[in-house]
C-alpha cells in the first residue's frame, strides 16, 4: 500500500513537471477553463431568471450541484482523460507492453501518467461558486455536512475513475472505438443538473446504471444537509461494488490483451 502511494506520488510529480514546462500554455488554458465555466453558468442564470425553483431545486441549491460538476469535470478532463487517452494510444502503437513490464501495478501506472495542472482553475471556480451559493442561502454549511460531502466526493471521484477505467478496458477489445472516452466526457455533461430534473427511465439510468446522481447530486445534498443516512450508506456500498467490478474487468481485459507487435 505504501509502495503504491509512493508510485502515485512520483508519477504526479513527473507529470506536473512536464506540464509546467509550457508556461504560456498554462496561462492560456487556465483562462479558457474560466471562460468555459462562464459558459456553463449562463444557462442556469437564464433559466432561473424565469423561475424560482426547477424540479424542486432553488437557484443557490442548483449552484451547489453545478459547483460539484465543475470540480469533477476538472478531475475528469485534467487527470483521468489525458492519462487514459494515453493507454488507448499505447494499445494502438503496441507500446503498452513496456508499461505492463514495469514492476508496479499497470492500472496504477496508467491512471496518473498525464496531468493538466491548469485545471486547478476549475477547483478555484467551484470554490467561488460554493461561496456565492451559500452566501445566497444565508448561512454556511455545518461542519458535519462538510465532512459528509467530503466523503461523498471521494465516492464520486471513485465512481468517475471506475467508469473511465471501464471505458478504456473496452478499448482493449475494440481498438477501433478509441474515442469512446470523449463520448463519456460528453455524457458526463448531464451531471450538471440534479437527478430530479429527469423522470422515468432516464432517472433510473442516471442513478443506477450510469450513476451521475452519485457524482454531483448526492455531494450537493450532503453539503445542503439534505442527504438521508440511508442514501449515503447505499451510495457508498454502490461505489465500492462499482470500483470492484471495474477492477475485475480491467484485470480480465489485460489478460486478454494480445500486444499489437506479437
Amino acid at each position: 500500500m505504501m509502495r503504491a502511494l509512493r508510485v502515485v506520488r512520483a508519477q504526479l510529480r513527473a507529470s506536473v513537471a512536464v506540464a509546467l514546462q509550457y508556461r504560456f500554455e498554462f496561462a492560456v488554458e487556465g483562462a479558457l477553463a474560466l471562460l468555459w465555466m462562464g459558459v456553463t453558468l449562463v444557462p442556469l442564470v437564464v433559466v432561473f431568471g424565469t423561475r424560482d425553483s426547477v424540479a424542486g431545486w432553488t437557484f443557490p441549491e442548483m449552484l451547489v450541484v453545478l459547483g460539484w460538476f465543475v470540480a469533477l469535470k476538472g478531475v475528469l478532463e485534467g487527470t483521468l482523460s489525458p492519462s487514459l487517452m494515453q493507454v488507448v494510444e499505447h494499445v494502438r502503437k503496441g507500446t503498452l507492453d513496456f508499461v505492463l513490464l514495469k514492476p508496479a501495478d499497470a492500472q496504477l501506472l496508467v491512471s496518473f501518467s498525464k496531468i493538466e495542472p491548469w485545471r486547478v482553475t476549475d477547483f478555484a471556480g467551484a470554490a467561488v461558486i460554493f461561496a456565492f451559493a451559500f452566501q445566497r442561502i444565508g448561512h454556511a454549511p455545518a461542519l458535519m455536512h462538510v465532512l459528509l460531502a467530503a466523503v461523498m466526493l471521494c465516492a464520486a471521484v471513485m465512481v468517475l475513475y471506475s467508469i473511465a477505467i471501464l471505458v478504456v478496458a473496452i478499448a482493449f477489445i475494440a481498438v477501433r472505438v478509441d474515442n469512446l472516452l470523449y463520448l463519456f466526457q460528453s455524457v458526463f455533461d448531464v451531471a450538471r443538473w440534479p437527478s430530479t430534473v429527469f423522470r422515468g427511465t432516464l432517472a433510473v439510468v442516471f442513478t443506477f446504471v450510469l450513476p451521475l446522481a452519485l457524482m454531483t447530486t448526492y455531494p450537493a445534498l450532503a453539503l445542503l444537509g439534505k442527504l438521508t443516512p440511508q442514501t449515503a450508506v447505499g451510495a457508498l456500498v454502490g461505489t465500492l461494488l462499482f470500483a470492484g467490478v471495474a477492477r475485475a474487468i480491467w484485470i480480465s481485459s489485460i489478460r486478454r490483451y494480445t500486444s499489437a507487435s506479437s
Binding site: L32, P43, L44, R51, N179, S186, D189, T196
Partner: protein, 264 residues
Amino acid sequence: MTRLLRLYPQLLRTGFAEAVAYRAEFLIWMFSTNMPLVMLAIWAAAARSGPVGGYSQEGFAAYYLAALLVRLMTGAWVVWEMTMEIRQGTLALRLLRPIHPLLQWSADNLAAIPMRGVVAIPVVAILLYVARGQLSHDWFSWALLCPALLGAWLLYFLVQAIIGTLALRFESAASLFDAWLGFSNILSGYLIPLDLFPRAVRELALVLPFRFQLSFPVELMLGRWSRAEALELLAAQWAYVALFLVSTRVAWRSGLRHYAAYGG
C-alpha cells in the same frame, strides 16, 4: 475552373470513402454531440409548471431537436486538422499537390454529410413524432433551409479555416478556436434560444455572425419568419459568408509567407 469541376467530385468520393472506413469512430463523434439534449432536460423541467417565455415543453423539444439537427448537419473539423498538419510539417506535402489545400479539406468535410445524415435521420423522426405541431407549415421556409444550412456550414468551415491559418504564425491557434467556440455556444442559440436572453444580450447576438450558424436555420424550421424577413436574413447570412471568404483568402496568403515547414 473546368479542371476543378472534374476534380472536386473525385475529392468528394475519396472523402466519403474515408468517412465510411472510420465509421465506428465517426458515429461516436456524432453521438457525443448531446448538448442540446442536456439543455432540453432543464428547460423541459422548468416548463412543467407552464410555458416559459412562449415556449411550452413541446416548443423546447422542437427547438433543441432542430438545433441538434443543424449542428449534426453543419459540422466541420478543419481547424484541428490544420493545426496538426502545420505542427507536424505535413502541410508541406499538401502544398505540393496541384490543388488548394483548403479545397481538399472542404471536400473531406462535405463528404461526411451522408454519414451525418445517418445519425440525423432518427433525430428527424423523433422531431416529427414529438413536436410536429411546432414546425413551419410554409414550404417557402423549408425551401430556404437548404441555402441556409449551406451558409451555416460555410460560416463554420471558414471561421475554422481563418483560425487554422493563424497556426502558421502562432502555436496556440487551437486554443483560440476553443475560446471562439465558447462564445459561439452562447450567442448562436445553441445552448439557449436567443429570444430568452435579456434584451441587451439578444440585441448583441442579432448583429453578430454567430446566429447565422445555428439559430437562423432553426428558426426557419420553426417558421418564425415571414417570407420577406427570411429572405432578408438569408441575404445577411450570405453577406457574412462572402466577408469570411475574403478574410480566409487574405489570411491564407499572408500566413503562407510566414510558414517555414518544420522538419522540411
